[in-house]
Amino acid sequence: MTTPWTDSAQPSLGTMYRLQWEDAQQCHVLLFPEGMIKLNGPAAEILKRCDGKTSVAALVIDLETTFGEADLRADVIEFLEQAHGRHWIR
């Protein structure tokens, strides 16, 4: 079982992953040894903020402010859990 993400946790990308915008794909992608995952908009916005310094609480507030939406916390936590399960973040 993975430990749940707390508000003070500071997620960062796994060491073998790199996030970048790809013109040819018209989306953000996650690159890793010999592979690429295309990300949808919300996934990319969350992963961009997984810099090892931003807390989950700050990340949620940032997203809510930037996109003018409320109550994103549950969605963000759910995504972080999935991303962690795939070893994208730690």
């Binding site: 060491t15 073998m16 790199r18 970048q20 790809e22 013109d23 040819a24 794909q25 992608v29 690159l31 890793f32 040894p33 010999e34 592979g35 690429m36 070893h87």
Partner: protein
């Protein structure tokens, strides 16, 4: 023929998606002599290597089209003195950079310089978990060196993939190979069941494992997987001859994968150069865009228009793309044939016969003994310059 005529039109009609993977085979030179090497059996003919500036132009053009992954391969890419410069250029262009190496030449100093240049990942090859077999199969004393290189790679914080080509000789060692990779803290272990091209095709009778040996080894892999979950991922490359299932080779001909050989010839896969009737263009004469989008050779087997009626009528044609063109050619003489590993192929019985003829490694009479500079060991032919010249 009607089918060929309309096929040609269809080839041109299939729009090419951009290449995502560029494999830069920097050189065919290699200090190892592996009996299953995927390089051409006549590799000494293609020794006029591209220069640094030519490679960087290739990287720039492929990147501009949308390629994101760049593999530095060979031969042994570390024999090129300009490797660090090439990695730096690729990194600056935004590629995820992969070094595919035997480890020979990867000193701590060089590994550190490559890290600074932006190298993202290293794939290190091993031939076996034992010194005896590793050195025998590569016909070099490299086992201990590879152990040191694995340490260097991890000490510098690189993601590390260990790659081990699996065949009759080392399949019984699979458990020890997994334990070795685990102790080296590999992030991935690629157990690459041998694919029969190049030198491996030449040595196919000696390398072919029995179905029983494959099944036993796969069971061992499955036993280890849960224990390693989250630490080391094991990739078991499907042995397509034994499984009777065509592989979606290169995810389709000239679909996502582009190889540039040491002499600048562009190919849709490592071994396509041997296919007759196709004129593969050189990056010395053409841009990557022209090669990818306009050359008849790259268009030849795109889409489904070229397929035999066996493949045309198959519901899996969009999934496996009819299997591998090189395999179809090697086994039938016709590159457009259904890959004979497929049970629907009229020539499938030949593949079945090859698998049925495989013997248990314990019954192999030739001794496993490393002899420096040997061209052969019994029936096994090593990849050497002399053997490549014929």
């Amino acid at each position: 023929m009607d089918a060929t005529g309309s096929g040609d039109l269809l080839h041109r009609a299939v729009a090419a998606k951009p290449p995502l993977w560029l494999l830069a085979e920097l050189t065919y030179r290699c200090p190892l002599h592996c009996a299953f090497c995927s390089n051409p059996v006549d590799y000494t003919q293609y020794s006029k290597e591209l220069g640094t500036d030519e490679w960087i132009r290739v990287f720039r053009e492929a990147r501009a089209m949308g390629a994101v992954q760049l593999g530095f391969s060979g031969g042994e890419p570390l024999v090129r003195d300009d490797l660090t410069e090439l990695v730096a250029a690729a990194h600056d262009l935004g590629f995820y950079t992969n070094l595919i190496t035997s480890g020979v030449g990867l000193t701590p100093q060089r590994a550190e310089a490559l890290k600074k240049a932006g190298l993202d990942h290293i794939q290190l090859s091993f031939q076996d978990s034992s010194r005896e077999l590793n050195d025998f199969l590569s016909s070099t004393k490299t086992f201990d060196l590879k152990q040191r290189v694995a340490r260097t790679i991890k000490d510098l914080g690189y993601p590390m993939v260990l790659n081990c080509v699996m065949h009759r000789y080392n399949l019984p060692h699979v458990g020890r190979i997994i334990e070795m990779a685990e102790s080296m803290e590999a992030d991935f272990l690629e157990l690459a069941n041998v694919q029969y091209y190049g030198w491996a095709w030449r040595n196919r009778e000696m390398l072919m494992p029995t179905r029983a040996a494959l099944a036993t080894a796969e069971a061992v892999v499955d036993e280890h997987r849960p224990r390693l979950d989250g630490r080391m991922k094991i990739l078991w490359v499907v042995p397509d001859y034994a499984e009777g299932k065509p592989k979606p080779c290169m995810a389709g001909w000239a679909s996502v994968f582009l190889v540039v050989a040491p002499d600048g010839v562009a190919l849709p896969c490592h071994s396509a150069r041997m296919l007759p009737g196709l004129d593969f263009p050189s990056v010395r004469d053409h841009s990557i865009r022209e090669i990818w989008q306009e050359s008849p050779a790259f268009g030849a087997y795109r889409g489904t228009g070229w397929m035999s009626s066996t493949c045309q009528s198959c519901e899996d044609k969009e999934k496996d793309h009819g299997g591998c063109r090189c395999q179809a050619f090697l086994l039938t003489g016709d590159a457009a044939a259904t890959d004979p590993v497929c049970p629907k192929s009229p020539q499938h019985a030949e593949v079945e016969a090859m698998v049925a003829a495989a013997v248990d490694p314990r019954e192999v009479s030739a001794p496993i003994r490393f002899v420096p500079g040997a061209r052969r060991a019994g029936e096994l032919v090593f990849r050497t310059d002399a053997n490549a010249r014929g």
